[in-house]
Symmetry: D2
Subunit: 478 residues, 4 copies
């Protein structure tokens, strides 16, 4: 039957091109795994299996694919079958026994995305290592100002700050990794919807493709959107987290704040405005993350109210669009990696802001509570007076004496020291605080998570490698 020209051009041909560009290779692996199983289960004869094997081998070298979808077929698979037919005749059709395009396509999409997601995981691990090294480096110990609601609020360290983001990142990565496991299951054997009357072995096919296992319920296999939605939502969350960091780093590195700095090669400067040294890279991270979020949101809402059936929302066009989104995400991760590797602290500027905004004065009040046995509110009212006097240390002592009826035994130097940004950090040794003691459990937690994630990914990789070998071996042996 001839399709309408418009339908052919706008639907069939677009789909054909997606298959040629993206899914061919994985499809071949599925053919092989399915063939091995059909033969093992004696669903097809040894002779037929050999013929199909031969045809596959020929076409692996010499599959002639036109630029546009040819008149006589609906998709790439039928073209493949047609060419098999030319080589081995009627046996060609036997490869499609006990399967359907529904389960086959879905498995191919999962294989395709699995590969891309694992690559993304590599980029994420690279990024976490960059951050972890920065946290543990001298830069990591550098003082910074932390803001709340856009206002300078506390002194802390770059390491404390970045390890917080690292904690967020690792949570996103754990989630994303779980979503890869959700995806990493075979749908082969579900056939169109309800499996088949042939005595197939779904587990073998799954094993030969390196999956964790099968999607058990055959309807679930061809109808669930989780393999596409779960990664979507995790990557969206990741991108959202990154836009938040970008907004904050952009602020800290802005002209007027200036507590973070970048090397020249990340900064667009102006020959005529030498002070202009803002890293536009941050803006591009924000934009590319935003574009990725747009695509991911689109994929997510595509499922909204789509019938709980096998539908083309679970087919090549959305997977292709996902792939477009992944390119932005890869770029964002690389740009962020470059940004965080190169950022450094301008401690002088930190001290200036700290002094001018009195970010450490709360520590003086706390000191009085702890060491002078004052009530919290009393200490605060004394220090408040000191602030109003524009940090006149005599006034502090005066006010203390007036309030408590005793002298404050602190030298001016000691007061200065208590108010210093370094002291502010040093005393914060509570679990999770910026002092070395506080950071210790933070770092241990991060290391453990990183270790677990890396181990898990390696296991996935290993399983795939082994299954690839096993599949090729058993295909050879047919």
């Amino acid at each position: 039957m001839k399709f309408s020209e418009i339908y052919k051009r706008r639907v069939l041909n677009e789909s054909f091109k997606n298959w040629v560009e993206l899914f061919q290779e994985d499809l071949m692996d599925v053919h092989k795994a399915h063939l091995v199983m059909l033969k093992d289960q004696k669903i097809i004869s040894e002779k037929t299996a050999e013929n199909i094997k031969r045809a596959i081998e020929v076409l692996q070298k010499d599959f002639s694919i036109p630029e546009e979808i040819p008149e006589e077929v609906e998709d790439l698979y039928f073209l493949f079958e047609k060419q098999m037919e030319k080589i081995i005749g009627d046996d060609a059709g036997a490869l499609h026994t006990a399967r359907s395009r529904n389960d086959m396509d879905n498995t191919v999409f999962r294989l395709f995305l699995r590969k891309r997601f694992l690559m993304l995981m590599d980029s994420l691990i690279k990024l976490t290592n960059t951050i972890f090294e920065k946290v543990e480096s001298d830069d990591g110990a550098g003082l910074i100002i932390q803001y709340t609601h856009g206002q300078p609020a506390n002194v802390s360290t770059l390491g404390h700050y970045l390890s917080s983001f690292l904690a967020d990142l690792l949570e996103d990565m754990e989630g994303f990794l779980n979503s890869i496991h959700n995806l990493n299951r075979s749908t082969m054997g579900a056939c169109a919807i309800t499996t088949t009357g042939f005595d197939i072995d779904r587990k073998t096919v799954s094993d030969l493709l390196g999956f964790d296992g099968i999607v058990t319920n055959s309807y679930h296999a061809i109808v669930t959107s989780h393999w596409i939605e779960y990664p979507c939502m995790w990557l969206k969350n990741l991108m959202n987290d990154i836009t938040r960091l970008a907004a904050d780093i952009g602020h800290k590195a802005s002209c007027e704040v200036g507590i973070l700095e970048f090397p020249d090669n990340l900064v667009q400067i102006s020959s005529i405005m030498p002070q202009k040294r803002n890293p536009v890279i941050i803006e591009h991270i924000r934009i590319q993350a935003g574009l990725a979020i747009g695509i991911l949101n689109g994929l997510e809402s595509l499922m909204h109210s789509s019938p709980y059936q096998d539908i083309n929302e679970l087919s090549d066009a959305p997977v292709k669009e996902f792939y477009n989104g992944l390119k932005y995400i890869e770029s964002v991760l690389e740009l962020l990696d470059e940004t965080l590797e190169n950022v450094s602290v301008n401690e002088q500027r930190v001290r200036e802001i700290s002094t001018s905004t009195g970010t450490t004065t709360t520590e003086l009040a706390d000191y009085l509570v702890r060491n002078e046995n004052l009530n919290f509110r009393t200490a605060h009212s004394i220090v408040s007076e000191f602030v109003k006097s524009n940090y006149d240390k005599s006034k502090l002592k005066e006010k203390f004496e007036k309030t408590t009826d005793r002298k404050l035994n602190l030298s001016f130097d000691r007061i200065e020291e208590i108010l210093s940004p370094n002291n502010f950090v040093k005393v914060r040794k509570v679990t999770g605080g910026p002092a070395a003691e506080g950071m210790k459990p933070v770092l241990i937690e991060i290391k453990n998570k990183l270790f677990d994630i890396t181990k898990d990914i390696n296991q996935i990789h290993d399983k795939i490698t082994k299954s690839d070998e096993e599949r090729e071996k058993r295909f050879e042996m047919i």
Copy 2:
């Protein structure tokens, strides 16, 4: 200082009302846990602790809260402190030692949402049980038609269909449960940003509030959005899944399809159009889920490019909006539970559609492949002829003979039987297929997941109950 009237009305007062309506009770628990810890760590004196305890006890019975935020305070906490002050004087302020509104509010929001999420989990478990019972009931064995791309494609059972949705549901529940664990951590001790110089014990406070543990890095504690975003994304996915099921059930229960049916009390009928029996409840599920998704999307995009600082996006207004969304979600779950509990199958209609659309003819082709040793494509071409003859069994035999040069040893009755919907299901005993043998592993998997989820939730509940007792006991003992 007096705030602008508009700012007071539109911001401070709205926030005040949220605190009064939603967060008061959890705030009291936080006060107690923090007080116990301050005393244990000797950060405040026993005397002060006793005073504060006394004030809390008085105010628990008799905290006078005006309808509108009073002139002299910024929020509910300050009002509370002011009233404590009237009872115990300066000691009132000591309760706020070594904490800040940042960590305190965040912990309160987590406690509040934890309670609501656990309630939602109860509704979800009720729903899964309803579905599971339906799957295992006689209704579950009822035949239905399954559709692909809106077209009748296979015969299956209601149980096969609903257990697929159950699998999706359980995946969403596992994810949501993980997100509850992410949320179920204490931020107390992070103070404003960087912990404190006081020698606090973050773990004790966490334990006394029944948390899994603390958010270690103190910056992470006050800056992460995951406690709000992760549940958001899981619930959104859940709602999306439900809209898909609703779309499909709506189709299956529609006037012209009619393979699913509902009792009268779920159907809006018309006195003058007696055939009108569509369950509008499905439409309302779709709409309420859509409204929930809107709110959840809003919360998600709220974080987009918000600075990676403590910001009011992580404060009471968004939590309140989340709460509005939860009401829709509760309603959706209840309506879906009611729908699935009451749905039944119209098998006669299933047989009609099956016959008129030839959904079982593929099974006849498969039968020929399996039992008559035919090639897949050959079998299909024979059956295709049979279909074109409008199911003339003699023509089938004729065509078979012409193609294979041998007779087809099947009685007309046997052919009829092979083509029957019941046979179609019966032979599909592959893992995950609709026959009893195929469903077995499906049911086991579901049971295991349900068991694990229920166990996990019970542990969370237990921990909370115990910590509630412990906290009250130790508060009493001050």
Copy 3:
């Protein structure tokens, strides 16, 4: 028939409460307009009309509405009809001749939203006036720095800046006003779907309700989503624009930039950190706008793939949710109005930043091009040298002479003047530039738009007032 308890509680009763809370009054107006038309067209008898009139008058004073939906009715309208029946017997039903709940409800929702949208328009006009006054005030002439990509780039005036936002605002308002016109059409007479066989007069009903006209095609009347979607999208755009302004004003008013300032009553300060003077109001504008956007997005995507039929997506629940969104929007507009009314410029800080970042040096280069007949790139290279010398005016003259072989006839004072922020603005008198000459066409354009919008709104208001009077008069005359 008795509905399922859950369905009643979660659907019927929620809807009932919406009608009682929000739509009652408009429904009464629709009754009256429809009644007048039925009588005029002689579709019902004069006697019946009189009876119905009497019943309406009684119930206007004394309509007894229970808190929960009573057992025997499906919605508020049926309750109303039942109570009419108690007063006038069978004639009660005649009011529903030649109409249906479809066209009636839709008209009520349009009346309800029309009222709220016109109120919003009033707030928007108040806001535009506030901005316009600020632009024309002394504050408006105050110098500010303008940024690109977060970097200081040009000197301009507050008036130039705010009138740009005003231009955006007016474009949004024009669009929103168009969407009100789209909404402001009667659907009465469409009945369920296809009008009726009765000889009704749709125009009269429309006129009596103050509409611009009718939605002509009766299917269009009950199926289009534009009356809800168009306002949605315009208000979303408005909110998005406001979040952009909020982000920029937040930056300009931040601690470290400080070129914009707010009075004390808009600033949350800290007793212990006196420099903290950031207007948190900006953050709340961002958040409330974000929450509104979430709701509006939800309403928008509710329509995605909803069948092109009369559906409950076009019914009370989404209209109620829209109303929730409108409350946020009202709040945002009021907070923004307060913000812009009170903002002022810190010109000293503007001059500091201008000097330290050399934002005016491009003007010196331009001056040389214009007055010394230099090539653009040559001028820039001379000024660039001057900048590198840290603004050493002798070096400028030297470099000029070396490059051009002639002296630069500019005194040091004149150079200073050329580089002054005031001069930078003064020379920019091109249409649309910040100098008075440049601003003139900007202000004229704004005034014209404001005039047109105001006139249009007044006409809508007038029409409504007149139709209200006419309707009551003709109802009285029955």
Copy 4:
């Protein structure tokens, strides 16, 4: 200066490729228009102007563009300037007098999108004409069933149905056209932010590029997002409307409903399931529209909280992404056009459903009200009895007599006629109803709108053509 490799690859090079692929041609037009103006205003000398003209002419034929961005430049414009410099030396830089990349790029993006939007408008007009012809054709008079909440409710005509969608479409087109006018303004002369001290003539440049006029306020010119957001929101609404129609047509054309039909070349069939004739094209319209909506949503939320400054969100990457979205939209429009051109009505099926669901019985009740002087509710109760008797006409007469105490003077044939689908439509001649009389004002309204839109677009096209000629002429004359 050398940029980081990653920054170069991920940002600069991507942008470079966008400029080469999409924006080159429009940039050339901007160069010419700006050059003509600079010369006319005597901002550059005649000699310089001639040199630049010569360089442009050379490069128009022979601009050597490498595949990747070369080391020494930041973007395509600088490469162009560099190559001009090789031809004419220092004068090359003079072309950039009194402009900046900000205003230049923005104008180029507007020119680029204007061209694409006008092409889209052509597709939309083609679609409206297809629908209009269908409405007026015999197919248009074909009877269909209309549904509410998924249930058969009224008989109507295909023309009534499609002209409703046409009304929606035209409203979207009017809005989209308005958004093109919003975009169709020149930003040239805004320079970086605040115009310039040179005496430029913004109107001339605008006229030479065929714009409606200029964006007056220069800050507005480089900061507004409306030129990208407004088209975005209109196209999104258009796509949403189309998904609604697709959902409904998919239902009407589904296997079990079957009141709409498609020719074979739009239907994917199965050799073995001959009844399968559903148009999958509908599903692809839904998906591609969904993917477009995703991209448009992404662009919209990109602006959320982006500072109200010149930002890269208003730059090439988002415009490119918009372009990706436009490809989906073009495809959707073409597929929908193909669908609506080929759809036809299966009237036999309409009559079957009408009979079996009693969709016309309300008309019988209305008839009794109109012609037998019955009360609305009384008539309904009589007809209700008739329905319960399974349409026994004697029972109708009996019940009538019992209720009214008089005979019903209607023959069985006359009753049959009253109940016929054709009569149902015929009597609905109220404005906007499906009868010919009702459709008349519907068609006039549509024609008027189509006429106005077409006229407006033609004027835009004309203006562009004339300005192209004028620009080239004046460029030649330099």
